[in-house]
Subunit: 604 residues, 2 copies
């Protein structure tokens, strides 16, 4: 028997000679992608064998993989066979992982010095006696109480810490504010969160060494009150209790994540001394309890755009009493701090040449860095890629079809965790439209070819059956309807029109773009070529695209770890030129062209 | 018919010729004192008639009042008869009022410049447009957002204020912190509170002109958890939930007062932008939720002695989100910020010669200013003068006997609001002991003379009947027992021993004291001569005593109105020499002498 270790997910399992690495991975619950079912066609299951007894690259691999990939040691797990005993260590690139597992693995981060806004000092108190009746705060050596701002809840810890640890304590400060008294050697913690309209992603960070101690994600609980930003703003504007309901919901959601990451690290939430949250302007306002009437109606202005540092417990977060919540600046009503965070994490403002950065979500923010000049916009791409408003749409969960290919005259699919299919998640929806378009089952306008064997129903009900009822997990077929295709067209048209307008603003053509950085959970899972096929992205060579995952969340972590990053956020906002699309004279025109299912809709 | 106006209580009533002013006052509910029942003997009902048709001073008045009083226009209300029609305006000095009404009238206050810690600026915002999509906070003219610290709950008011008032607002700041955005011309308010172990006194103040807009008092709701400081500290040390129970109770009590004073002024509590609270060290810690283990056990040190400024809403006070609660410094475990506040209000540290300042309560704090050198101590006088641990003791409420005299061989009493007697409040208890001592019904050791007609019962039950059952409000006699006398002896001995030790510390004799400032609710109501008779105070000429009422509360108001006063509080604490009595070698000796019921116990 061999032992196979999958890195960096950290799964270890035993395996027998003759098994393929794909067999072993699937048995061990490592979500390796393999839409072709192990035929060596899709090349999704690429891995790197670091050492151990496995077969040499076979003819299928030499055919399927580029020479550069082969030289880099990449293998197809479906073709790599275990050949003997001993440990086999396999590195699984994030791209080869199925959606839910991929989010557990972070993208590559740009290195950053650990220099948070909090400072740590180790202090000593003199024990009291009948001759020294000073207060505990007054008996700290080398500390002049009047030099510090300290609140009652922060002071409340001091007597216990001093008496419990031989009159020693760790004093955590932020400027002249005392944030907390910790036990000696206790680790000061930070919590960073990306508050998406649909999803939340959070990180627990050691503020001494910058290490990530816990990661957790969840659905934004506000989704119960409206799937998109406008639905939630409308609720708040109509219902006097709406604002407090939505605030209560998001704070509860963040507290759940906070306790989850703390449990992962075996610490308590009260050790969290600094918090960073990034989100679009609406999520920012709803979290902070700021009014949204002026944000939800023309001309759509925020209550505040500057960076904020506000007491975290006052909002209901279960962190230390002295902790503050930092929120980077907003650019405009619909370009929020999450986009700033993403741009910082990807170093977009520092790129040479022409860089396009997109954060795809219910709203998609787009920034163009054209030789140092920065333009940005926000475009209402809607929740179709989150699975909403799609007949068999669903979130990325077991049984969601996440990848589709057309092979040997039929549609093949891969589901999350290889469960029987029950619906389509965002990347599957995009693949379905692209594949059906390439197979000419969809026309350029999105119409379905009647008479094709897979096309069923009539008129409003016309749809293509992706998985028949006898092969699904719930006994009903999984289909994509004409209406679903339309939703995808509207979503992708909004994104493409936004890209086009920014490029025009810079006096460039789409082909001038040197680099496309695609961020966001959905953006991380999609097949870029399919996105080009349907006209969501400009038809650029695939190597110009970089899928960076939750860059907004990574950026939030950076704002936690390094105070200078906060200054950079302010500088970036001043450099960005915001283009409001809602009243842009050319937007409607570009949008109506961009609904066409073709890589280059501008010539049609 | 005449119309009589009583000032400054502000009562207006109609009256007929032939009525005395005392008749009119009692009918109108003005609580004029008159223990002798209108015989012109007690001289309690002194008033000043400012104008109107009344009789000239009669022989009784010329006999009863000093020449200086007669020249100053003082009259006895019981002897002053209405003689015709027209308005009569009568000024009622605080000393002539019955206890509950007296607390409504403030003592004379030392003038103070209005210079609070908050600043007010009137600001203008530019309305947004499609060409100006800045946030509301960024569109304020002449304000650079990065110059200010502003929290989310404070910013939440801005959009509504700007849009509701033609893009104008009043910005209230404290240093670089924004405290609140108010409507233009709105009055910034402050709330000052004296947190006594037994009673709470509170003031609502206009922070523009320093005027008092509302006054309210209440019992400290923590009393349900223990009548004295030690009982409450013990509860917290034993019961893990004790601290939060006591904190919840006091915060609820303060919120009730806050809403009461705001209702008096027709304003809402969210307009309160600064709060000052003074209390003894235990009340200070219990309000702030600070641990008390180290305060309740030797060597009795506070968690913090320095002045604190802590967010008020974080503690649960219903004030503006940006408001802070300021608490002046504590001197020691049992000399709290309330005493500092009282000393400031009475200008004790600035007096020439020898000044003794006392704040009588469940704990009595004593400060001696001997030619600029300041000593202080705290002495456990107990709750006897609050009516607790006294058989027929009660708080100052309707039917409480508040004053007693011996006249024509019998005891005469006056009750609050002239209701039938139901018990004795603090001043009545003190009077009872003094009067019975002067009538030799009590011996110098506090024993009751058996055989005297009023003395009834045996052994443990021996008592003097003050009011027989057929004259009381509840059909039972009102009595003072030997045990009650003993409680008074312990209480007054603690105070007197404290005074004596401070005087000795200064190398002086009690007779060197030039001035005695007596503060506190109880201290304001007592008969000084009776207090001397029982040996609570040194036998000094009555004119050296000054009863100043709730000086701690007045001091709290001063700390609200003028930021410099806060600096003076810090200076004062540094000047004060604290004498710990619990382990003082001479205290037990002085205390045991001071229990004697005589003005000068030191020679006995």
């Amino acid at each position: 028997m061999s032992e196979v270790v999958f890195q960096p997910v950290g799964k270890r399992t035993s395996a027998a000679p003759g098994d393929t690495l794909l067999d072993v991975a699937q048995a061990a619950g490592v979500g390796l992608s393999a839409v072709c079912g192990g035929a060596g066609v899709c090349t999704d299951c690429r891995v790197r064998v670091l050492h151990g007894p496995v077969s040499a690259a076979n003819a299928v691999e030499q055919d399927a993989l580029a020479d550069t990939d082969l030289h880099a040691g990449l293998r197809l797990a479906c073709q790599t066979v275990i050949e003997g005993d001993g440990e086999i260590v396999v590195d699984v690139p994030p791209d080869s992982l199925s959606a839910p597992q991929r989010s557990q693995v972070e993208g590559e981060e740009i290195p950053l010095t650990v220099a948070p806004v909090i400072q740590v000092s180790d202090v000593i108190g003199l024990p009291p006696s009948v001759d020294d009746l000073r207060g505990d705060w007054e008996r700290m050596q080398g500390i002049t109480p009047s030099d510090w701002q300290v609140t009652a809840p922060v002071l409340a810890d001091l007597p216990g810490v001093l008496r419990g640890h031989g009159w020693r304590a760790r004093m955590v400060t932020r400027g002249q504010d005392v944030v907390r008294f910790l036990a000696p050697k206790a680790v000061p913690l930070g919590f960073a969160v990306d508050v998406g309209t649909t999803g939340l992603a959070s990180y627990l960070v050691d503020l001494i060494n910058g290490e990530t101690l816990g990661i957790a994600g969840a659905t934004n609980p506000q989704i119960a009150y409206g799937e998109d930003v406008m639905a939630r703003l409308t609720l708040v504007m109509r219902d006097p209790k709406g604002a407090s309901r939505l605030q209560t919901a998001i704070v509860a959601g963040l507290n759940d994540l906070l306790h989850e990451v703390c449990a992962q690290a075996g610490v308590t939430a009260s050790g969290v001394l600094d918090v960073v949250a990034v989100g679009n302007t609406a999520m920012h306002h709803l979290l902070l309890g700021l009014p949204v009437d002026q944000l939800g109606s023309a001309p759509y202005v925020p209550a505040v755009a500057s960076a904020l540092s506000t007491p975290a417990r006052e909002l209901g977060l279960d962190v230390a009493p002295g902790a503050r919540l930092y929120l980077p600046p907003n650019v405009a009503g619909f370009v929020g701090a999450d986009h700033i965070s993403m741009l910082l994490a990807t170093a977009t403002p520092d790129q040479l040449g022409v860089t396009l950065s997109l954060d795809i979500g219910t709203n998609t923010e787009v920034t163009l860095n054209a030789d140092g000049r920065l333009w940005c916009c926000s475009t209402a791409s809607g929740p179709a890629f989150e699975g909403a408003h799609i007949r068999d749409g669903m979130r990325a969960a077991d049984g969601a079809i996440e990848r589709l290919i057309w092979r040997d005259g039929e549609l093949r699919w891969q589901t999350i965790n290889h469960a029987p299919p029950v619906g389509l998640c965002g990347s599957g929806i995009l693949d379905a439209v692209a594949v059906l378009r390439e197979a000419n089952i969809l026309t350029i306008t999105g119409a379905m070819q009647r008479g094709h064997p897979g096309v069923q129903g009539e008129n409003h009900d016309i749809h293509y059956e992706i998985a028949p009822a006898d092969r699904t997990g719930h006994g009903r077929p999984v289909v994509i309807s004409r209406a679903d295709v339309n939703e995808v067209q509207l979503a992708k048209a909004a994104i493409r029109a936004g890209i086009k307008l920014l490029v025009e603003q810079a006096g460039l053509a789409e082909t001038d773009i040197d680099r496309v950085i695609v961020a966001g959970a959905f953006g991380n899972y999609i097949n870029i070529e399919n996105a080009i096929t349907i006209g969501m992205f400009p038809p650029l060579p695939p190597e110009r695209f970089q899928q960076v995952g939750n860059a907004a969340g990574i950026g939030a972590k950076r704002l936690l770890i390094n105070a200078e990053e906060r200054a950079r956020a302010g500088d970036l906002v001043r450099r960005l030129h915001y283009i409001e699309l809602t009243n842009h004279p050319a937007f409607a025109d570009r949008f109506s062209q961009a609904v066409m299912l073709t890589p280059d809709p501008w010539d049609e």
